[in-house]
């Protein structure tokens, strides 16, 4: 964070090479250099930025373990600014996770394992990955933050949980393939994500960083459209097209306080009521005769 209470965030809208970890790591170094030179305090890379997305049977070959030497190299990216990047993480029990890692001052601060693995239509993640089992926020140098990877945001409860933990910012790394052609100048996917991300920012009165990748894998296009959204739902910066780009935005962090004064939605949220009602729903579901 800068002395004036502002934070410069960067979204690295890149085109990772499929299954080529070394090349992608080198590219991460280049983008970190660019973002540092541009004065960014935080740089977000897309989902699976270190490996590419449609890995299929390449998942085990692309994985890193938290005790691998490469972890030192990844942490080393964050000496001058905080870095969020995507990787396949293998646990000691040999489960593979689609994970997003947050590094700061040369250390791993947080690791989010993607919970909701899309396995329908063109997606097949549950064939290759194990699901994460938690949504947790964490403290950064500029407030409380949470990470949701791509499909995680299509489940209302994920962002809701982070919100009740009091996050100032939600970071969403994504590898969203573009589809849905109409007469609109944007793809259907782009429209949907714009709607969802802005809705979360406004409903939860939080900054929302959406970083999507670009490029093509096996004919599928990734539409980019990375955006920074303020706690009032307004888009602060967006890369509209599907080219590689460093999207930069200067955030006034005090905007969260002002927004929550104007719209005290979080204050008025009835957590206990929600839990009681959910418990009742669960109870009734389990009591159904068949």
């Amino acid at each position: 964070m800068n002395a004036d209470g502002r934070l410069t965030v960067g979204l690295a809208q890149i085109d990772p090479a499929l299954g080529d970890r070394d090349r992608n790591l080198e590219r991460h170094r280049e983008w970190v250099g660019q973002a540092t030179a541009a004065g960014a305090n935080l740089l977000v890379f897309p989902e699976l930025s270190l490996t590419g997305y449609f890995l299929k049977d390449l998942v085990p070959d692309s994985a890193i373990r938290l005790d691998d030497p490469i972890m030192g190299e990844l942490a080393g990216l964050s000496t001058k600014l905080d870095v969020v990047l995507g990787a396949v993480v293998e646990d000691p029990d040999h489960r593979y996770f689609n994970a997003s890692l947050y590094f700061s001052h040369g250390e791993l601060v947080h690791l989010h394992r993607k919970v909701y693995l899309p396995t329908y239509g063109m997606f097949d993640e549950q064939r290759y990955f194990a699901p994460g089992d938690r949504f947790r926020s964490f403290k950064t140098g500029f407030g409380r933050t949470g990470i949701l990877v791509c499909e995680d945001i299509w489940h209302l409860s994920s962002a809701y949980i982070l919100s009740l933990e009091g996050v100032d910012m939600i970071i969403c790394p994504s590898s969203s393939p573009g589809r849905g052609i109409t007469t609109d100048e944007r793809l259907g996917t782009a429209e949907s994500y714009n709607l969802v991300c802005r809705t979360y920012a406004q409903f939860l009165t939080t900054f929302f960083l959406y970083c999507n990748r670009v490029g093509f894998e096996d004919g599928a296009n990734f539409w980019g459209g990375s955006m920074v959204i303020g706690p009032n739902g307004d888009i602060i910066a967006q890369q509209e097209d599907a080219d590689e780009a460093l999207v930069l935005a200067s955030l006034d962090l005090a905007q969260v306080r002002r927004e929550r004064l104007a719209n005290p939605l979080l204050r008025d949220e009835r957590l206990e009521l929600t839990i009681n009602e959910l418990r009742r729903v669960l109870h009734e579901r389990t009591r159904k005769p068949f």
């Binding site: 090479a17 499929l18 299954g19 573009g178 007469t183 093509f216 096996d218 004919g219 296009n221």
Partner: protein, 284 residues
């Protein structure tokens, strides 16, 4: 035959596209999928029809005219107008061109099988053209770029290992009526966009006569059936005739084999494409 209300409209509204957006994606697709596997060039069969003229146009924008080789491969019964249309596209785009009359090799083969019908001869011609394209692919270090659209692929209105063979296909997810829209916007000559679609295996052949239905009607049905998984009852409620629906469903089902690699007998624990699954773009 009954149809939903919109046959009178030039384009069935749900199949209307934003041509600039689609063109941008397809040009990016060609550039990316060709270059990342180490190629600069593409080779395509240019018939003078709207599909191959559109693909030539997209490839030219993606790679530049010197990196597109159009091979024109008429047979002696092909309509001479098709050749002229193809040459007009070559000239307009300024791309490389090679003309090979396939009559000698086709006729030499069928001297032994003089009773062969038109369909058999047509399939042989399509495969002859394929072998020429793959030979030119090797000779000129260019990927073979396909020109089959989604309507043809779903109906199986093409020759397996003939015109259906290619390394990459930019228009395989566009219905014929969408190809027309994109071709028109991309600057394909109007006469080519507006002429009656034909495989041109003999003069006067017409896709729509052979299929028995108009593309506009088939595409509407496929849009609901394939893209939105409407049931037969739901399709009938929309106004499609039951016989039409059943005929199209049967064609899609009966031609599934053409859209797949050959079936491999399962023996080991990892069989190609069943449980040995790697992306084509592995390492690129």
């Amino acid at each position: 035959m009954s149809a939903p209300a919109s046959l009178s409209e030039p384009v069935f509204p749900p199949l209307a596209i934003h041509p600039e957006l689609v063109k941008r994606i397809l040009v990016g697709f060609i550039r990316n999928e060709v270059r990342k596997v180490g190629f600069e060039r593409v080779v395509l069969g240019l018939s003078g029809g709207v599909d191959s003229s559109l693909v030539a146009t997209l490839a030219t924008e993606a790679l530049g005219p010197r990196n597109v080789l159009a091979v024109v491969m008429p047979y002696r019964t092909s309509d001479p107008k098709s050749r002229n249309d193809a040459l007009q596209v070559v000239q307009q785009l300024g791309i490389e061109q090679l003309e090979i009359d396939i009559s000698p090799q086709i006729d030499a083969y069928f001297e032994r099988f003089p009773a062969a019908d038109q369909k058999r001869r047509g399939n042989k011609m399509a495969r002859e053209r394929m072998t020429i394209l793959y030979d030119q692919s090797f000779a000129s270090r260019g990927l073979v770029i396909g020109t089959s659209n989604k309507t043809e692929l779903l109906l199986g209105y093409g020759t397996i290992y003939g015109d259906m063979a290619s390394a990459i296909n930019p228009i395989g997810d566009l219905y014929k009526t969408q190809v027309w829209q994109l071709a028109d916007a991309a600057g394909v000559p109007t006469a080519i966009v507006q002429k009656a679609p034909s495989a041109d295996l003999w003069a006067g052949q017409s896709d729509e006569t052979e299929l028995g239905f108009q593309y506009r009607m088939i595409d509407q049905l496929l849009y609901y059936l394939v893209d939105h998984r409407y049931s037969i009852d739901e399709l009938k409620r929309l106004g499609f005739a039951e016989a039409f629906v059943e005929d199209i469903i049967r064609r899609v089902r009966d031609n599934q084999y053409k859209r797949r690699l050959p079936v491999i007998a399962k023996l080991s624990s990892r069989t190609i494409d069943r449980d040995f699954r790697y992306p084509r773009d592995w390492g690129h």
